[in-house]
């Protein structure tokens, strides 16, 4: 089996969410001497890009995304020990969490999956995260982006407080918000740099904002 077929196999098995198949292709990639970084980016990440596009078009839904993510992580588990240090680019860092009082984390988890597939390093703070933890994590990690999620109108009010603190303490950090009750209009009112209506859009918006900031 040639390199092209293996990379396509990794890509397609990721889209299908087929864990056994993707692991088998990952092992073949190693056996054939394919660079592990290339296998991840051209195989699994390419597959997740397709998943992301299909989700935006309403052709795939969350159950499929979660299965694709399982497949991607399984393949990465096989490939990671073979990554060569010099081939790994310094990834952009995003601190991600669901704000205080809110435990609804499906949206945040989807953003995490899509961001990781797109090559970001995600520092996942989890759910019901106090404001100070966002600010501390951004400063400690020198994060490029801080992503905040909320599903409730009562919890989203923490966002402007976090954004305001970040503007003071880490002014270069890009702030992004998302979640059920949020909108472009509300994101602007909260002083956020970006708003994403879903996980697929989050990656696109993050990349655009990084280019705008001059650090992509």
């Amino acid at each position: 089996m040639g390199k092209k077929e293996i990379l396509e196999g990794l890509r397609d098995a990721t889209v299908e969410g087929d864990v056994d198949k993707v692991v088998s292709f990952a092992k073949k990639a190693i056996a054939e001497g394919i660079d592990a970084y290339e296998a991840i980016m051209e195989g699994c990440a390419a597959g997740m890009n397709i998943v992301s596009e299909k989700y935006e078009k309403g052709e795939m839904f969350v159950p499929e995304i979660l299965c694709s993510a399982e497949a991607m992580y399984a393949a990465i588990g096989v490939l990671k020990p073979y990554l060569k240090a010099e081939r790994v680019e310094t990834p952009k860092k995003i601190v991600l969490g669901v704000v205080r009082g809110d435990i609804h984390d499906i949206g945040k988890n989807l953003v995490k999956i899509m961001m990781e597939a797109a090559g970001f390093q995600v520092i996942d703070l989890g759910r019901d995260v106090p404001n100070e933890q966002f600010v501390e994590a951004v400063m400690r990690e020198q994060a490029d982006i801080c992503g905040m999620s909320a599903l409730m109108t009562t919890s989203m009010i923490a966002m402007p407080e976090i954004i305001s603190e970040l503007k003071k303490k880490a002014p270069k950090t890009i702030t992004m918000v998302g979640g059920g009750p949020l909108s472009e209009e509300l994101a602007r009112a909260y002083g956020a740099d970006g708003y994403a209506k879903d996980a697929a859009a989050a990656v696109r918006v993050a990349k655009e904002l990084l280019i705008k900031r001059g650090g992509a």
């Binding site: 159950p63 979660l66 009082g101």
Partner: protein, 356 residues
């Protein structure tokens, strides 16, 4: 205009297919009522007396047309043996799941259908229903939705993956939930009589933000149809159905549900703001009441004048429904809504929603 009907009369007129004095207003208020009467939001979900009083006084103060009820989106986890927390901390607005009763595939088999008389929040729901019944208001019970309840019981991430990898487990779980909802309906109907009851169903996991219309057809529809058929067969006449968030792709299923139930009873549809009123009217307008779906977060950050305009637009479009219209909100009124914005709904009804 001056009101010529009382809230109960206005709503009854719409449900009987008659014209009221003006458009009724049901602002889907729960947590907001707690803020109005000065008790913690958590009390709305733990103390039936305080909950009833807060909801009743809030409705009386504003003059809107809904009656107290008890329902929450995380329903199911506590009832089936898990643990929930109540909204007493900053940022919280409703009960939330602390521990799901189903954590493994084996747990699905072990899961027992609880007795509605003692299960989780049902005694609180029953007590509020009793107080409503005592003053002639409908006794509301929750009977859906199945998949949202399954997600609360098994955890949403686990359930959504099972839908792809272990669909038989999801069906097994849904069957138990269906059985529980029917038992709940029987409990309320036998206590108050079917004509005094109103069923409520709704949930966000059915939304097309999460699942496809085909998945709705496989994992939601058959259970929903059986529950609704049984509830209607018991003689319950009114079902308040809230397909939460964006469910535009599921609309054909909801229409099919009504057709397969023979358009029995009267449904009050409360779709999210994502679903245009015109689409709802074309699907359900010959039989059912449409409740308007003004964007909920707007009540928290927009001005009184802006809300008034949003309500005016909703009223002008909704009044075209031949089977009746209620001005409402596309999901729960934000507990931190600006108080005057709730009044904007009443004012809009009086100014733009007159039938006289």
């Amino acid at each position: 205009m001056i009101d010529r009907m009382k809230p109960g009369e206005r709503l009854a007129a719409v449900l009987m297919g008659q014209k009221p004095d003006r458009v009724p207003v049901i602002p889907f208020i729960l947590g907001f009522a707690a803020k109005i009467v000065g008790v913690p939001i958590g009390d709305l979900y733990t103390d039936p007396k305080k909950s009833f009083r807060a909801q009743l006084l809030c409705a009386e103060m504003y003059g809107y047309d809904s009656s107290p009820m008890y329902a929450y989106a995380s329903f199911g986890a506590w009832e089936f043996g898990g643990k929930v927390g109540f909204p007493y901390e900053p940022g919280q607005s409703a009960p939330y799941v602390i521990e799901e009763p189903v954590k493994s595939e084996e747990d699905v088999d072990k899961l027992e259908v609880p007795d509605p008389k003692t299960a989780g929040s049902i005694p609180i729901m029953m007590e509020i229903a009793r107080q409503c019944y005592a003053i002639g208001l409908p006794a509301v019970f929750q009977c859906g939705e199945v998949l949202t309840t399954a997600a609360n019981i098994a955890g949403p991430g686990r359930l959504l993956v099972w839908m792809k990898r272990k669909p038989e487990l999801v069906h097994k779980l849904n069957k138990k939930i269906e059985e529980f909802f029917v038992a709940c309906a029987e409990y309320f109907v036998s206590t108050f009589g079917a004509d005094k009851c109103m069923a409520f169903g709704g949930g966000p996991v059915e939304s097309n933000k999460l699942i496809s219309p085909n998945q709705f057809g496989e994992f939601v529809y058959p259970y929903m149809l059986r529950v609704h058929r049984k509830v209607l067969e018991m003689g319950v006449q009114i079902i308040l159905e809230h397909p939460c968030a964006d469910q535009n792709k599921n609309l054909p299923w909801y229409r099919k549900l009504r057709e397969e139930c023979g358009w029995k009873g009267k449904y009050i549809w409360v779709f999210g703001p994502e679903t245009p009123l015109e689409n709802q009217i074309s699907l359900f307008g010959d039989h059912d009441v449409i409740m308007g779906n003004v964007d909920p977060p707007s009540f928290q950050f927009k001005s009184f004048e802006e809300i008034l305009l949003l309500c005016k637009d909703n009223i002008e479009r909704g009044m075209k429904n031949p089977s009746g219209y209620i001005l409402g909100v596309g999901c729960e009124m934000p507990p931190y809504a600006i108080p005057i914005n709730v009044y904007a709904m009443i004012k809009a009804s009086r100014e733009y929603g007159s039938y006289i």
